[in-house]
Symmetry: C2
Subunit: 432 residues, 2 copies
C-alpha cells in the first residue's frame, strides 16, 4: 500500500487510477470499475478503507449503489467488555451490517478498538470525541488533543470518523430554543465546551489539520450532525438546517483536500418531512453520500425503536440516503446487547433490501424470488436458508404448535384444509 | 336499535340523519358530526357496527380519519382454543387494535365467535368462507350454504365480513401464470370450486342476496382480494388489477343497496409500487376505504414480517390506505400466539401513528411531544406510561445493566459523562 502513487481513493479516481478497492466495489455492486471510479472522483461514492485496516473487504457508499447499513457497538462507562463487543461485531457481520461503528466510551478504548479492527472485515467507524473525553475529561477538549486522538485512531486503521465540525458557536441559540436541545452526545459536549470557554468549536478551527491526517491514512470523514433533532417537534428546524449548510461547506473543503466525505443526517423526523430532508442534503452537500440515523418517525415507542426507525430509514433510502445507521430496541433505554444488535441489524437490512428492490438495483430481487419458489415447493429448509435470519425462521416454525414437524406440506396457520399453497399446486396440476 | 328509521349507517347518512354512531366517531376523530355524516353518505367512511353487537364502541374507517389497524386472531384446525383467542383479543385491544378479525378455521367456530363478539368493544370481522368450509367441507360451497353462514354470522353481531366476490372464473388463467398463484385462502378455495364445477364464483352470483343480509344487520362488506399477490414477483399484475376492477363494480352495487363497503388490498408489493396501488384503488373503487394487508415489501424475512409489513403499511397509509391489517412475526411460519399478536399490533400501531402525525391529524403528535418532555425531564416513569407498550419499555430499561436503577439521571447507553440530556439541562440553566 505504501508504494501507491496516490494518498486516497478520491485522489486516485481523479487521476483516473482504478484501485483494487474500486474493482472490489465494482464487482460487489455489479457495476463497471469506470462507473465506480467516476463516482468516487466526484465524491458521490466513498470507499472507507484506511490503508492500515489490513483485513478489510472494501465496500462503497453512495445513493446509486446498494443501500448500506451500519451497526453501532461499543462499551459505555457502565457496561460491556471487549469480549462482549466482539460478540456484537460477529452478530453485526453475520446478520448483514455493511459497516460497524465502535462508540466505546468506557475503559481501555484504544485496546477495544484494536480488537474490533483486527476482527472486522467491514469498515470500522468511530466518534473520536468519545475517546477524547474519556481520556482527557470534558475539560481536555483542545485542538491538540483532538489531533492526537484522531492521529492515533487513523494510524490504528479506523476507516471513517464522525467529526462534529459543522456545529458552530452561532448555532447554539437556535439549538436551545428546542424542546430537546442537542441530543447528539458529541454535539452536546462541544456545545458545552464552547459555552464554558467562549471559543469556537475546535473541530472546526483545526479542520484543515484533521484533513491532513485523513489524507495520510485515507480516513473517510463522516460529517456529524451535532444538531440533529431528538424529537419530532424539533425536526427540520433552523438549527438543523443551519448546521447542514455548514456541512455543505465542509464537504467542499474535504473534496479540495482529496479527502472522502459523507454527511450524517437526522435523527427524529416526521414521515412527511423525510423526502424533503433527503433532497435538501443532496442539494446543499453536493450529493455527498447521506448517512442517516434512523430516522425514527415517532417518539412514543421505546422498546420498538428499531421498527420506528426502519420505517423512516426505508423512506429515507427511497429518496436518496446511501447508508442507514441502525437503531436497536434499546434506543432511548440503554446500551444494546447482542440480541438487540441482531434485531436492529435485521430491521435495517429489511429496510435497505426493500429499497434496493424498489430502486431496481440489479439482482436485488433474486433472493425474494428464490424464497418464494421455495415457499411454493413447501421446501421449508431452503426457505430458512435463504432468509435474512435462518435461525429465527426455523425456531418460529418449530414453536408453531400442532405437530407440524410431521406435516411438511402445511403450517399451523392454515392446516391441511385451508392451505392456499396446496390448493395452488392442485390447480396448477390440471389445465383449466 | 330496532325502532330506527334506517337500516344502515349509509342509509341514515343519505337521509341526513346523524346517528349515535356518527356522533361517537366524530368525537373520537375531533371532527364535526356533519363531516362524518357526509363521508358516510358518500361511502368514503364506513362505520362497521352490526345492530346486534351491543357492547361495541363505534369507530370510523376512511382515509381522512385516523389510520386504523386490524389484528387477526382465531383458531386453526391444528391449534388454539376460545381461552387463548380471548387472550389474543385482550392483547389486541390493550395494545391498540381498532378492529379484530376472527379467522377461526378449527372446531366450534360459532361458539368461539360468540365469545369474541361478547368480549369485544371493537368491531369484529370474519371471513365466512372459513366457517363454510370448516362446517360443510370444500364440496359444501354453494349459494345456499354461503347465505346460511352469512345470515347466522350477521345475526350473531359480526360487524364486517370479507367476501371474495370479485374473483371470477375469467381471472383464473391470469392467476395461474404467477409464481405463487393464489395465496388468499378464501380465494384459492373459490378458485378450486370454480375449476372443479365449471361454475362461476357463488359469492358473486348471490351477491345481491348477500347485500340483503348486510342491509338488515348493517354488516359492512370488506371486498376481499382473492387475487392479492403473494410475492414481490406477482405484485401489480394483470390478475390483481382485473379483480380490483371487479371490486370497483361491487362497491357501486353496495352503495346502491345502502350497504357500507371497504376494499381489501395487497399483499406483497415492492415499495416503489405502493403509492400507485393506493391511487389506483381510490380511482377504481370510488374512494372506498382501502384496507391493506401489510403490504410486505420483501419476501426474504420470515420471522420479521411484522417489520417488513409495517414498512409497507406506513407507505400505504401515507398514500391513502385507511386501515392496515397487521402482520405478526409468525407470518408465513405458523399461527400467531399472544406475544406475536402484541408484536404485530405495536408494529402496526407505530406505522399508523407515524402517518397520522405525517398527515397532520389533529392532536396526533401530542403524545410524542409529551414523551419528549418526559425524556428531557428524566421522568422515566412518565416516559413509560406514555409509551405504546409501557411494560416493555420498563422491562428493557431494567434489563440495561450497570446499576442504572440507582441513577435516574442517565442510562447505560451514555452513562453520566456522555449524557446529552444532562448537558442540555446544564446549557439551558445558563443563558448564552
Amino acid at each position: 500500500m505504501s508504494s501507491r502513487s496516490f494518498s486516497t481513493q478520491v485522489e486516485a479516481a481523479r487521476k483516473g487510477v482504478i484501485t483494487p478497492q474500486m474493482l472490489s466495489v465494482a464487482q460487489a455492486e455489479r457495476r463497471s470499475a469506470e462507473f465506480i471510479c467516476e463516482r468516487v472522483a466526484s465524491g458521490k461514492v466513498v470507499i472507507p478503507a484506511n490503508i492500515n485496516h489490513s483485513n478489510l473487504v472494501p465496500m462503497g457508499i453512495g445513493r446509486e449503489l446498494k443501500i448500506k447499513i451500519n451497526s453501532n457497538i461499543g462499551t459505555s462507562t457502565l457496561a460491556s467488555s471487549l469480549e462482549l463487543e466482539l460478540e456484537k461485531l460477529e452478530f453485526s457481520i453475520r446478520f448483514g451490517a455493511d459497516t460497524v461503528m465502535d462508540l466505546s466510551t468506557g475503559e481501555n478504548i484504544p485496546e477495544i478498538r484494536r480488537g474490533i479492527i483486527e476482527k472486522s472485515t467491514i469498515p470500522v467507524g468511530t466518534v473520536p470525541i468519545y475517546e477524547l473525553v474519556a481520556r482527557f475529561g470534558a475539560d481536555g477538549i483542545s485542538e491538540e488533543n483532538i489531533l492526537k486522538v484522531i492521529a492515533e485512531q487513523a494510524e490504528q486503521g479506523v476507516d471513517y470518523m464522525t467529526i462534529h465540525s459543522g456545529l458552530l458557536a452561532k448555532h447554539l441559540p437556535l439549538a436551545l430554543e428546542r424542546k430537546l436541545g442537542i441530543v447528539s452526545r458529541g454535539g452536546s459536549l462541544i456545545a458545552r465546551y464552547m459555552k464554558r470557554t467562549g471559543r469556537e468549536n475546535p473541530f472546526y478551527t483545526c479542520f484543515d489539520r484533521i484533513l491532513e491526517i485523513c489524507q495520510k491514512y485515507d480516513v473517510t470523514l463522516s460529517l456529524g450532525d451535532g444538531l440533529r433533532p431528538g424529537c419530532l417537534a424539533d425536526a427540520s428546524d433552523r438549527a438543523q438546517f443551519a448546521e447542514l449548510d455548514e456541512l455543505g461547506r465542509l464537504v467542499e473543503r474535504c473534496r479540495k483536500a482529496n479527502v472522502q466525505a459523507m454527511v450524517e443526517g437526522p435523527g427524529h423526523v416526521p414521515y412527511n418531512e423525510i423526502e424533503m430532508n433527503m433532497r435538501l442534503e443532496q442539494k446543499v452537500c453536493g450529493d455527498a453520500p447521506f448517512y442517516i440515523l434512523g430516522p425514527v418517525v415517532a417518539d412514543c415507542a421505546p422498546g420498538y425503536d428499531h421498527i420506528t426507525a426502519a420505517i423512516g430509514a426505508a423512506q429515507g433510502a427511497y429518496h436518496g440516503a446511501a447508508m442507514l445507521c441502525y437503531v436497536t430496541p434499546m434506543e432511548h433505554l440503554g446500551l444494546p446487547e447482542k440480541e438487540d444488535v441482531r434485531n436492529g441489524v435485521i430491521a435495517f437490512k429489511i429496510a435497505a433490501h426493500a429499497i434496493d428492490v424498489a430502486r431496481g438495483i440489479p439482482g436485488a430481487r433474486d433472493i425474494d424470488d428464490a424464497i418464494s419458489d421455495a415457499r411454493a415447493q413447501f421446501n421449508w429448509q431452503k426457505q430458512f436458508d435463504l432468509s435474512l435470519d435462518p435461525e429465527r425462521a426455523a425456531e418460529y416454525r418449530k414453536r408453531a404448535r400442532g405437530g407440524c414437524e410431521n406435516n411438511p406440506d402445511y403450517c399451523t396457520m392454515c392446516g391441511p384444509d385451508f392451505c392456499s399453497m396446496r390448493i395452488n399446486a392442485e390447480l396448477k396440476k390440471h389445465s383449466l
